[in-house]
């Protein structure tokens, strides 16, 4: 038997003195930090409608890929996670590999968008963006790269507009919304979402952000900021930290009606894997997805548990299905250094054998 501690009094005092010193010195560093910028990879708007913008991302050279790839992000948070900072940018990395990348930036909904439905988003906005990419690139079908909820949208789209999709990539995408470890799903199950949306209208981003923080309350509300003290004297690390804070908290509200539908149909009734989802007048049958599919998920994902994504393999109709498990979390899959080494090259390699 050994005592669990080896705490020398002088060392303890040294530890807390160091903490306070860093904290005191850090105030000055925080005071002079500029607003952190995203990677801002050169881009051109090729289509705009209401709040959304379709961006054509520009690399150093011309793309070598024949088929363009449209990145479909979730309605929560912003697409700039994929282009967060120069050395941690999924977009830049894919461009460097020769891919031709378009980003769908949904924008920030306001009261005018309260009644937008999933039909408006998927059969409307997304379909018109796909058409715009097809037209711009002069192709009949595009690759879709759907992320998180955007992956779910991409699945719905591919199942109902199959002729416009060549290859489908899903990243951290929920498919089975009721796996036992899905905390968000458990919490959403008993909520009267009709009354919730009726009284809230659009769902404020601040409210959703709080819900996400409470998935891991001590880690995300405290431990993270205790860790901040250690990097206050490192300008580069501090900028990276603040950039991530910007991305986390600078997020759009949710159009009320689309939110209501998504919670009800997907989270509460888990209709996607039952083949019961209707987007407008189009039934969504995952069995209709016969395109090549690459499904990437994160093994430590606390927002979309790996099993929620793995389910795709059991329901999709294609015979060309590839699954890639990434050792990291929901955000790390885009911004960690491991992700830069592993994810974009894997996507490029998979696409290059199918374009």
């Amino acid at each position: 038997m050994f005592p669990p501690f080896r705490l020398d009094p002088a060392a303890l005092l040294g530890e807390i003195s160091a903490f306070q010193r860093k904290l005191s010195a850090g105030v000055g560093n925080l005071a002079h930090q500029p607003e952190p910028e995203y990677a801002n990879t050169p881009r051109e708007a090729v289509y705009r409608e209401d709040k959304l913008t379709l961006w054509h991302m520009k690399g150093q050279g011309k793309p070598t890929a024949k088929t363009p790839t449209l990145v479909v992000y979730a309605l929560v948070n912003t697409v700039w996670m994929t282009d967060l900072q120069a050395d941690r940018s999924l977009v830049r990395n894919l461009l460097e590999q020769g891919e031709d990348i378009y980003l769908l930036d949904w924008g920030y909904p306001d009261g005018a968008d309260r009644w937008l439905t999933l039909d408006d988003y998927i059969n409307g906005y997304l379909d018109r963006c796909v058409d715009a990419v097809r037209k711009a690139a002069g192709v009949d079908a595009v690759n879709l790269l759907g992320i998180c909820q955007g992956g779910t949208f991409s699945l719905c789209y591919a199942a109902t507009h199959g002729d416009k999709v060549k290859n489908l990539i899903t990243m951290v995408t929920p498919v089975d919304f009721q796996t036992p470890d899905n905390m968000l799903s458990a919490w959403a199950r008993e909520v009267d979402v009709d009354r919730f949306v009726e009284t809230m209208g659009n769902i404020p981003a601040e409210l959703l952000n709080w819900v996400y923080l409470t998935l891991k309350p001590v880690r995300l509300n405290q431990q993270k900021y205790v860790g901040l003290v250690d990097i206050l004297d490192n300008p580069k690390e501090l900028q990276n930290f603040l950039r991530m804070e910007r991305w986390i908290f600078d997020s759009p509200d949710q159009a009320g009606e689309a939110f209501r539908e998504f919670i009800k149909e997907f989270y509460q009734h888990n209709k996607l894997i039952k083949g019961e989802v209707m987007i407008g007048d189009k039934p969504v049958d995952l069995g209709m997805i016969t395109h090549p599919v690459l499904n990437i998920f994160a093994e430590q994902d606390h927002l979309v548990p790996p099993d929620a994504s793995r389910a795709l393999g059991r329901h999709v109709g294609t015979t060309d299905y590839t699954q890639l498990a990434f050792k990291g979390g929901h955000i790390g899959i885009y911004v960690s250094s491991r992700a830069q080494r592993e994810v974009p090259p894997a996507i490029h390699q998979w696409l290059s054998t199918r374009n």
Partner: protein
């Protein structure tokens, strides 16, 4: 040795105080910049200076205080009972060293929600000040009967919300307690190995692991799911009733209500869908086909109406014009919805002029 430690602790406390003063000064400056118009008329539920200050500092301040308490607790020093020292450390800080990480888990926004509605409820009941009877359960009658019922419903809903929030908080408290128990279990495991906790940060990280594990288990339980749903639903009910009262007040003042604005938004969105459906490629193709069919029928009818006349007879000039107009209409049909609407307005204007 004890004098030296005492002096060091005093020095540390003085430094800690300076540090917090510096941070307070920094954050107050930024909070005041963020609130150029000072406190809002709503009692500043979000972002008021003090609130921003408290939230921003809470994580690091809580950790700093815990460090200070740990040094004074004698934890890890001597050969005493480590479990007792650990308990003393946590007990000296109210048994919940990081209570804020959990205590505010129903969000500052939710707390403001409670405060706001309570204040309004009290304001609404001010007319009954001094009445020493159970207002909530009084039979309603007289000219203000409907308003009495509304007030009673709101009071009952508020009470239901407070009860559901209490049940939710009880589960959070349980997570806090079980988190500490898990920390003890983890430390006990260490006594059977050669690994030891050699810093307060390591002890803190171990506590975070235990706290998150305990919380996750509770947060995924049926009991938590129901408590969460009940709390959200009760809050929605309060909001719903208050909105009804506000709508009534707006109607009395001749102001548009939330419900009316929402209904207009819904109709507008429906109209946008109808217009878009009418100009979709599928709809255009159908119209083109129908026009061609009508034209063919007209030609057939024209042929039957003039028996004996040669089939190759040159059509009347007026018919030619019609045919041209139809052709033009088909071409124009492909134009955007706005152009179609504008053109229709012109045609209507021309018709009226002819009359």
């Amino acid at each position: 040795m004890s004098d030296q430690a005492s002096d060091l602790l005093k020095d540390y406390q003085a430094m800690a105080q300076q540090s917090w003063d510096a941070w307070t000064h920094y954050l107050q400056q930024h909070a005041s910049m963020a609130q150029p118009f000072g406190q809002t008329a709503w009692g500043a539920p979000f972002g008021a200076g003090e609130d921003v200050l408290t939230r921003s500092m809470a994580a690091m301040k809580g950790y700093g205080e815990w460090l200070q308490g740990a040094v004074g607790s004698g934890l890890g020093q001597g050969t005493g009972d480590w479990q007792q020292s650990l308990q003393q450390l946590f007990a000296s800080l109210g048994g919940q060293p990081f209570a804020h990480a959990f205590a505010s888990i129903d969000s500052e926004a939710a707390r403001s929600f409670t405060q706001m509605w309570q204040a309004w409820l009290q304001a609404g009941q001010s007319g009954l000040a001094g009445a020493h009877f159970d207002v909530e359960h009084m039979a309603a009658f007289g000219f203000t009967r409907e308003r009495q019922l509304q007030q009673q419903a709101l009071a009952a809903a508020m009470q239901a919300y407070l009860e559901s929030a209490g049940k939710y908080q009880a589960l959070i408290q349980r997570a806090n307690t079980e988190g500490f128990e898990r920390l003890q279990a983890k430390l006990t495991e260490l006594t059977n190995s050669q690994r030891q906790v050699d810093s307060l940060k390591a002890l803190y990280d171990l506590w975070v692991d235990g706290a998150e594990e305990a919380y996750a288990q509770i947060a995924l339980s049926e009991e938590f799911r129901r408590a969460y749903g009940d709390m959200v639903n009760a809050q929605s009910r309060v909001r719903e009733l208050k909105q009804q009262m506000l709508d009534a007040a707006c109607r009395e003042l001749g102001m548009p209500t939330r419900g009316e604005v929402s209904a207009l938004g819904k109709r507008l969105q429906e109209l946008r869908r109808e217009v878009r459906a009418g100009t979709s490629p599928a709809a255009s193709e159908e119209i083109t086909a129908l026009r061609a069919e009508v034209a063919a029928l007209k030609r057939e009818l024209a042929g039957k109406a003039a028996p004996g006349k040669p089939a190759t007879k040159k059509p009347a000039p007026r018919s030619s014009k019609r045919a041209e107009t139809e052709k033009e209409a088909v071409v124009r049909r492909a134009k955007p919805a706005a152009a179609v609407v504008a053109r229709k307005s012109v045609v209507r204007g021309a018709t009226r002029t002819r009359k």
